[in-house]
């Protein structure tokens, strides 16, 4: 089981702040492919992965990163702090 959290417009497009999913995805990209196939709102959120960032257990990671041992995946747009 994986906890997935969404922030900013990714959260708004999907309509959820977090969810728990059953998945056997090996990498972030595999997970994104699974999510996109679910429903149009996921397709809309993940249509352009170059506009997205990902964190695995609260550490920034790439879309090719493996999910083995990961508990929480976060998807969000580029950060705008400061």
């Amino acid at each position: 089981m994986l906890d997935i959290v969404y922030f900013a417009w990714v959260r708004e497009r999907i309509g959820l702040p977090r969810e728990r999913v059953e998945t056997s995805a090996a990498t972030v990209l595999d997970l994104v492919t699974e999510l996109r196939a679910r429903e149009p709102r996921y397709e809309a959120a993940f249509a352009d992965t170059s506009a997205l960032r990902v964190a695995l257990d609260q550490q920034l990671a790439g879309f090719d990163a493996p999910l083995a041992g990961v508990r929480e995946v976060a998807f969000f747009p580029p950060m705008t702090g400061g």
Binding site: V5, F7, A8, W9, R11, A55, Q58, Q59, L60, A74, F76, P77, P78, M79, T80, G81, G82
Partner: protein, 148 residues
């Protein structure tokens, strides 16, 4: 090396005074205060969303990196989240060092990284509607001077 991510406001003057007190081998303290700016005349507030936990750990890692690069005695980062009206204080950075160059450079380094590597997202709430602030290429470019 305190890092505070909070909804509440803060007193910049009191924070800077407390940060500067009881220093022995410190000749320079630099403070930066960020405010909510209205570029268009229509902004009412910023809504700042954040990733609890990752904000603190990401900023703490930036502070550690700054300590590795400069001879810093101390650093302080406070960043707010939630709804902030025009003119409100968003965040502050303070650095203390023996010499001013380290204090200035480390403060700029922390600011540059906070802009695009700390998990906060700004939404502009204006009379024309709401919109997420897009990350700027200039903010990403600003990081390049600290890399390589």
């Amino acid at each position: 090396m305190p890092v505070r991510v909070q909804d509440a406001g803060f007193d910049f003057g009191a924070e800077m005074s407390a940060f500067s007190e009881n220093r022995e081998n410190v000749g320079a303290v630099v403070g930066f205060l960020g405010l909510v700016r209205d570029d268009t005349g229509t902004l009412e507030a910023l809504e700042i969303e954040h990733y609890p936990g990752m904000c603190e750990s990401a900023i703490a890692a930036m502070v550690e990196e700054a300590r590795a690069r400069w001879d810093l005695a101390d650093a302080l980062v406070i960043h707010r989240h939630g709804r902030l009206a025009v003119g409100a204080q968003i965040m502050m950075v303070a650095t203390a060092a023996r010499h001013r160059v380290a204090a200035f450079e480390a403060a700029e380094f922390l600011m540059d990284y906070l802009k695009s590597r700390a998990p906060f997202w700004k939404k502009e709430v204006s009379r024309d509607g709401d919109s997420w602030v897009a990350a700027k290429d200039a903010d990403e470019d600003a990081l390049s001077r600290w890399q390589g």
